[in-house]
């Protein structure tokens, strides 16, 4: 009960106190309010800061992880490229080695082959040597031939000289020029003794002074004497010359055969006329009387000549066919004589068996 009394005692104070407290509290209220505000703001700030710190920490973690990821990715890329570069370098180097070897080989084998060049130059010098020797030989041979030809010519000249001066030969009584009694005979002397005399061209070789027979008579042409004949007959046992030559008897036969005139040449040009004359004579001999048989009708006796239209008028001048195409002096070209008939020749038959060439022969 005490408390109740204390409380009741304090009851009137409550209003005062209440108002006193409120008053004092109000007095502290601003302060406390400000303090509370300060505390709250500080606390809130702390909270926010802690949040921000938290966020920052999280952000750092995220960024850390993200950058790590990126870096690793980058690194992987770098490793890849480095690997690739390394491989490419390796390949390049190997390719360089291959190309080096190949180019050296190619140049040495195909473009400038030292050994081939050496071989070639050696071959050239061998060829040169061979050519030089061959040419030497050839020149020597030519020289020898020329010398031989010269010697032969000289020999021939001497012989010819000796033959021409054959009269200088020494006789028993008189020694010749080359055979002086006071010294050895000259070689020319021996030469002259050896050769036979040089004869002037004999009468047989001169132009044949044949008495030109009268060729006006026809039959003299066929005389065998007007064609040249050989005086010397060929030797009997002459052996055939080697080569594509004919038998010498054949050749001489051809060369010296007499004239064999053809039928046309042999028949006289008047033979036709002579034959006709003969026939006429024969008939006249056999005829009973010589009266010519006349035709009965005189149909064509009184025919009158009808001149051409072009010739009938005199106002045409020189007409078409009158003067240009007809001969102005017809008698100049016409004569009373008729053509002579001549036998046409059978040329083929004439040549048969008489031609020298062997064309067309079978055996």
């Amino acid at each position: 009960m005490a408390t109740l009394v204390s409380l009741q005692s304090r009851l009137p104070l409550i209003d005062c106190q209440y108002y006193y407290r409120n008053r004092t509290v109000d007095g502290y209220r601003k302060k406390e309010y400000k303090a509370a505000v300060k505390i709250q703001s500080w606390f809130r700030g702390c909270r926010v800061r802690a949040y921000i710190r938290y966020l920052n920490k999280m952000m750092t973690v995220i960024q850390k992880w993200w950058r790590g990821y990126l870096g690793r990715k980058h690194y992987r890329q770098m490793v890849k490229t480095a690997y690739l570069t390394m491989k490419m370098n390796f390949y390049n180097e190997m390719a360089v080695r291959i190309q080096k070897r190949w180019r050296g080989f190619k140049i040495r084998k195909y473009c400038f082959n030292y050994y081939y060049l050496k071989e070639y130059l050696r071959a050239i010098s061998d060829t040169n040597q061979a050519i030089r020797e061959a040419l030497e030989e050839f020149a020597e041979m030519r020289g020898r031939e020329k010398k031989k030809a010269d010697l032969e010519k000289e020999e021939k000249r001497k012989q010819n000289q000796a033959r021409k001066t054959h009269y200088l030969l020494s006789t028993k009584q008189i020694p010749g020029i080359y055979n002086s009694p006071f010294r050895d005979p000259d070689p020319m002397e021996f030469e002259i003794r050896k050769v036979r005399a040089f004869q002037m061209p004999s009468a047989a070789h001169q132009i044949q002074q044949t008495d030109y027979e009268d060729l006006s008579t026809w039959l003299a042409c066929t005389s065998k004497r007007s064609f040249p004949r050989s005086d010397i007959l060929p030797p009997i046992n002459r052996k055939q010359c080697q080569g594509p030559f004919r038998d010498i008897a054949e050749v001489l036969q051809q060369r010296y055969k007499p004239l064999q005139p053809t039928l046309r040449v042999a028949t006289s040009i008047n033979s036709e006329k002579d034959a006709r004359e003969e026939l006429r004579r024969e008939e006249w001999n056999n005829r009973v009387h010589d009266n010519v048989f006349l035709p009965f009708s005189s149909f064509s006796k009184n025919e009158k000549y009808v001149p051409m239209v072009q010739t009938s008028t005199k106002y045409n001048g020189i007409s078409y066919a009158q003067k240009q195409f007809q001969e102005e002096e017809p008698t100049k070209w016409m004569s009373n004589k008729t053509f002579q008939t001549v036998f046409p020749p059978f040329v083929l038959f004439d040549k048969y068996g008489k031609v020298y060439s062997r064309a067309g022969e079978i055996a």
Partner: protein, 508 residues
Amino acid sequence: MSQRQVLQVFEQYQKARTQFVQMVAELATRPQNIETLQNAGVMSLLRPLLLDVVPTIQQTAALALGRLANYNDDLAEAVVKGDILPQLVYSLAEQNRFYKKAAAFVLRAVGKHSPQLAQAIVDCGALDTLVVCLEDFDPGVKEASAWALGYIARHNGELSQAVVDAGAVPLLVLCIQEPEIALKRIAASALSDISKHSPELAQTVVDAGAIAHLAQMILNLDAKLKRQVLSALSQIAKHSVDLAEMVVEAEIFPVVLTCLKDKDEYVKKNASTLIREIAKHTPELSQLIVNAGGVAAVIDCIGSCKGNIRLPGIMMLGYVAAHSENLAMAVIISKGVPQLAICLSEESEDHIKAAAAWALGQIGRHTPEHARAVAVTNALPILLSLYMSQDSSEDLQIKSKKAIKNILQKCTYLPALEPFLYDAPPNILKHVVGQFSKVLPHDSKARRLFVTSGGLKKVQEIKAEPGSLLQEYINNINNCYPEEIVRYYSPGYSETLLQRVDSYQPLV
């Protein structure tokens, strides 16, 4: 007067004419008489005798005219001016073979002097009749007309073209195949004269089938014929590669090489001309000649001749060596360089020396090996002296200078270069010192030799502008040696030594 006396007068006149014309023809063979004859007015007297009734007088008159016209060109002009040519041409078509020969001789004698006279002959229509005479049976007539055609065609291209247009070429090719040697000679010389002017004319000759026949005749024994045949082939081959190949296809190698050994000088000359004309076109043709052993034959031929005969052979070596270094090496191993060096020193004519210098330059310019081969024969000092001497012709100086330059650029054979240090003009000295500066840094033996032979001393004496190329070369050379040696050899070293002696305080 009786008939016989009248006829006797005519006979006397005829005898007098015959005698006159024969004597004139005989006198015209000697040159000293011709002046007198000309002054006596022989032309105007001979002219009516050409129209004489008697054929012998005509022929002898034509022969006398031909001999006179042959002597000099005034007389030939007098023949042209006297209107004798149309009469000759007209009777050339009709008369017998002696007259044809004499008339063709006159045409030849007139045509050989100058192009204008030859043109006069062409203008009076002689070519057609001459070509008709080429078809005659008598070889003497063919020879005379071929000779006349050859002399006309010799002068220039238009006249050759006129001869070809008259249809002479196929007939000349037929004449070549005839058995008479003189006719062959003349026909070959005519073909040679026709084909020398232009490629078209040469092609015409080739189209007529001349090459095969000419190639066959190379083996003939007659020297003059061989001259003409080789000359004809070389005139054909010189124009173009195709023609040269056609000549080669006629299988003239190695037969042509036997002609290089012939006794006759001009056969050798023409054969080497032919080979030269073939070799100069392409490397392949030169290769062919080298493979056939032609180079050796030509070198022997050069060795056995003197003077102008050598010239085509020397040029041939130059052409072959100019194409490529392998061919130049082939010339070197065939022992060509000593022969060329002998030519260079022996010959007296400038143009032959110039050709030898050019050939040596072509051989030595390819690689150091080649230059060494040329330098070993001691040709370089000769070339230098030819370049420096005042009485060489300008052509010789230019060619020897080029040859020296070509060889020096590749020459690493130092013993041959040393004489150049002493007496070369400055522009060549630069190259020489340059070569030394290239070789010396790498070769110790050469350095030693250079010092002992006095070359280093000479190099020190050379005055060069600082900064010039020569100075650079000299510096390069000096850098190859230790400094004391360079100082020892520098000029004026003995003075500096003596100065040091003067200024030395003796140690007491």
